[in-house]
């Protein structure tokens, strides 16, 4: 019995390590390149690791574009987006999944339907709308929509709610709790893992979104990181090392944040015992 256990464990680690290598190699490649001059990057035979760390690329990132400013702008937009997404999507998903009322099926289908029309043909109409509101070149077009739910998350939380037994809500009802209380006190803790996913995804969508900031903002000092990153990519001239350094700087906070956030993937249903 014991030997089989060890065998299984070794197998698990083997798979994990192989998977980790495949995931890591492109990233390591990125970081490696960020410390190299463009000339060295293309030498044959390939130079796998730079002999001397070249920090100039990182300095260039900040001198060639106002990268620090882009950072601050992006964080500002991202924070509101996460708050908006967590509140609105949980509310909507609960309403659709748990409360029986006429029209909820239709509303659910409508919201899923919004995922199916490609986003890029809708950009110009959205621009027109924000222009009518007089909000072009402000952060509002990048923030406000997050407070109105996103079908991607609504559908996800809806599916997660389907895995949670209804006994929990019912018990609370008997105690006379109202819906907002049930959502905040019972559903939210049970859905912690899913909510972390919402936060991470919303963070990434906003962090990496290029087209909407480019369209809705006019002033360079309001641009976000994703737009700033594109300054280093062009058909005619791409400073590879600087681009790689900028990319590394862009994803670094994401890595740290994810490492912290994944700890919240603890079993949400240890209370499951109640059900018995």
């Amino acid at each position: 019995m014991r030997t089989r256990r060890t065998g299984v464990t070794i197998c698990i680690y083997l798979f994990l390590v192989v998977g980790a290598c495949i995931s890591l190699i492109p990233l390591l490649w990125l970081i490696r390149s960020s410390f190299m001059s463009t000339e060295d990057m293309f030498k044959l035979p390939l130079i796998l690791f730079p002999r001397k760390l070249r920090l100039m690329n990182y300095v260039d990132v900040f001198t060639m574009v106002p990268f620090a400013r882009f950072y601050a702008n992006t964080i500002f937009v991202v924070v509101f987006n996460i708050i908006g997404a967590m509140i609105s999507n949980l509310m909507i998903a609960y309403g659709l999944a748990r409360i029986e009322f006429k029209g909820r099926g239709l509303m659910f289908c409508l919201s899923i339907g919004t995922l199916m029309l490609p986003a890029n043909v809708q950009l110009i109409p959205l621009f027109l709308e924000w222009n009518w509101f007089g909000q072009i070149d402000t952060f509002l077009p990048l923030i406000v929509p997050a407070f109105f739910g996103n079908a991607f998350f609504i559908f996800m939380l809806y599916q997660f709610l389907r895995t949670i037994p209804r006994d929990f809500d019912e018990a609370a009802f008997i105690d006379g709790a109202s819906y907002p209380v049930i959502i905040a006190k019972i559903i939210f803790p049970l859905m912690k893992s899913a909510m972390v996913v919402v936060a991470i995804f919303q963070f990434m969508f906003t962090w990496n979104d290029f087209m909407s900031p480019l369209l809705f903002l006019n002033s360079v000092n309001r641009y976000t990181l994703a737009v700033g990153l594109r300054a280093f990519i062009s058909t005619f001239y791409t400073p590879w090392g600087v681009l790689m350094a900028a990319a590394t700087l862009t994803i670094l906070p994401l890595i740290i944040l994810f490492f912290i956030a994944q700890r919240y993937f603890i079993s949400g249903l240890t209370v499951g015992g109640i059900k018995g």
Binding site: L123, I136, M211
Partner: protein, 449 residues
């Protein structure tokens, strides 16, 4: 723990809010005229444009210019998307860069200010290269921002090592194609030092290539024209891409990769970084746009030269660039024109020219020795640049951007056909004849603007 998270978030929000307010405080005083200047480009171009705009503000204290910079110009489509959003919402800027392929359509729909009277008033018409002014049905609506063309760089050390003589710089007396190919074979070696044609030459492991051509639409014209061919007639109704001369030109280029094995295969339509390969001595020649000089000039260790483009049948050169326009919706046409004129004057944006990014559109910078010295005499421009590149602008022909649907003809039909030649799936004759037939039936040949 929870408190700390809340504290952290509130600090972030405060920082952000502070930034927003900081942004808000820059209302111009009421007697000032405010212009918006829209443009694309690399960070270096951005810096040079900002400097020129600041110079303009200093010279015209009553005018304030707001730069609207769009980075990330991969194929111009994001710039076009933004432009369209601005046009359809009536919020176009006053002056700025414009994508050449969209020029005709916007001009025809009245989005640009007609410049003829202003040009005549200020006596500018003859001061600039005749190719510079962009006319639609006889009226001028814009000007090329710069004069850009195709050039051939080479790594001097590679040529010396390979025993290739110094290439001619006179664009009228350049190497002919066969000479060129034979030199390329001398340069190309595999990892064991063998040349193409030697027994045991390994085409899969090449250490040094003879040449790399940039392979995208505008860059085909000089070769095609040099062989006496063409792509689409200027009337926008005749397809010339299946002319034997055109076919031969494309086959010549494809043979560099597939037959002579002196040119690297392209990945995803482009080679990753030929400038770097040139600098590393992995490449003898690099045929590309003259703007790459900005990048090469900054590589201090690279000893590079410029050669006249090889001639298939006759010398040919291309005139290509972004466009500069004044938008018709501007409330201050006089000031906007003044800004346009400022940006067209090489003396005001000299950095863009000395760094190698652009070539001037003003005539005196091609004829007057003191003006020539201003932009050519520096560490960046290699010896022979004047004879090989600057002088060749005399025979340059504009990229045909006024043909209707030309973008779609390239995108849907020509590019795929040409790709199939590059990857060796079809011969130029098969691919281009097939494409020509499809274009004729596509309904896209609707004349020109």
């Amino acid at each position: 723990m929870k408190n700390r998270v809340v504290l952290f978030i509130s600090i972030l929000i405060l920082i952000g809010a502070g930034l927003c307010f900081a942004n808000g405080q820059k209302a111009a005083s009421s007697d000032q005229v405010k212009l918006t200047y829209i443009y694309w480009g690399s960070p270096a171009e951005d810096a040079a444009v900002k400097q020129a705009l600041a110079g303009f503000e200093a010279a015209n204290p009553t005018i304030k210019v707001e730069p609207m910079y769009l980075p990330g110009d991969l194929d111009g489509s994001t710039y076009n998307a933004k432009m369209k959003a601005l046009a359809v919402s009536n919020t176009l800027p006053d002056v700025g860069y414009f994508r050449p392929e969209e020029f005709g359509n916007y001009a025809e729909n009245g989005y640009f200010l007609k410049l003829d009277d202003l040009i005549a008033r200020d006596g500018m018409g003859d001061a600039y290269l005749p190719q510079t002014w962009l006319k639609i049905k006889g009226d001028t609506y814009g000007a090329y921002s710069a004069a850009e063309c195709q050039v051939m760089w080479y790594n001097k050390k590679v040529l010396r090592d390979a025993g290739v003589p110094t290439p001619p710089t006179d664009y009228k007396n350049a190497w002919n194609w066969d000479q060129f190919v034979s030199y390329l074979k001398m340069i190309t070696i595999d990892t064991k030092g063998k040349h193409p044609g030697d027994s045991g030459f390994n085409g899969k492991d090449i250490a040094r290539y003879g040449v790399s051509y940039d392979l995208w639409s505008a860059m085909y014209y000089p070769s095609v024209w040099s062989n006496g061919g063409d792509i689409i007639g200027l009337d926008g109704k005749t397809v010339l891409v299946d002319k034997p001369e055109t076919i031969e030109a494309f086959q010549n280029l494809a043979d560099l990769m597939n037959v002579h094995q002196v040119m690297p295969h392209v990945t995803g339509g482009t080679n990753i970084s030929p400038t770097t390969m040139l600098a590393n001595g992995q490449l003898g020649f690099y045929v590309t746009g003259q703007w790459t000089l900005l990048e090469l000039g900054a590589m201090k260790d690279l000893d590079f030269g410029v050669a006249a483009l090889p001639i298939m049948k006759k010398p040919a050169q291309l005139y290509v660039s972004g466009v500069n326009v004044v938008f018709n919706s501007t409330k201050h046409p006089e000031e906007a024109w003044a800004l346009q004129k400022w940006m067209m004057d090489p003396a005001k944006t000299l950095d863009l020219y000395t760094s190698g990014l652009w070539m001037p559109t003003k005539k005196s910078y091609y004829t007057d020795p003191s003006d020539i010295a201003k932009w050519l005499e520096n560490d960046v421009h290699p010896e022979g640049f004047k004879e090989a590149v600057v002088d060749s602008m005399a025979i340059s022909i504009n990229e045909p951007i006024k043909i209707k649907n030309i973008n779609q003809i390239w995108g849907d039909y020509l590019n795929p056909a040409i790709e199939s030649i590059w990857i060796g799936d079809k011969t130029a004759s098969q691919a281009l004849k097939e494409a020509a037939g499809k274009i004729r039936n596509s309904g896209l040949l609707q004349g020109s603007y």
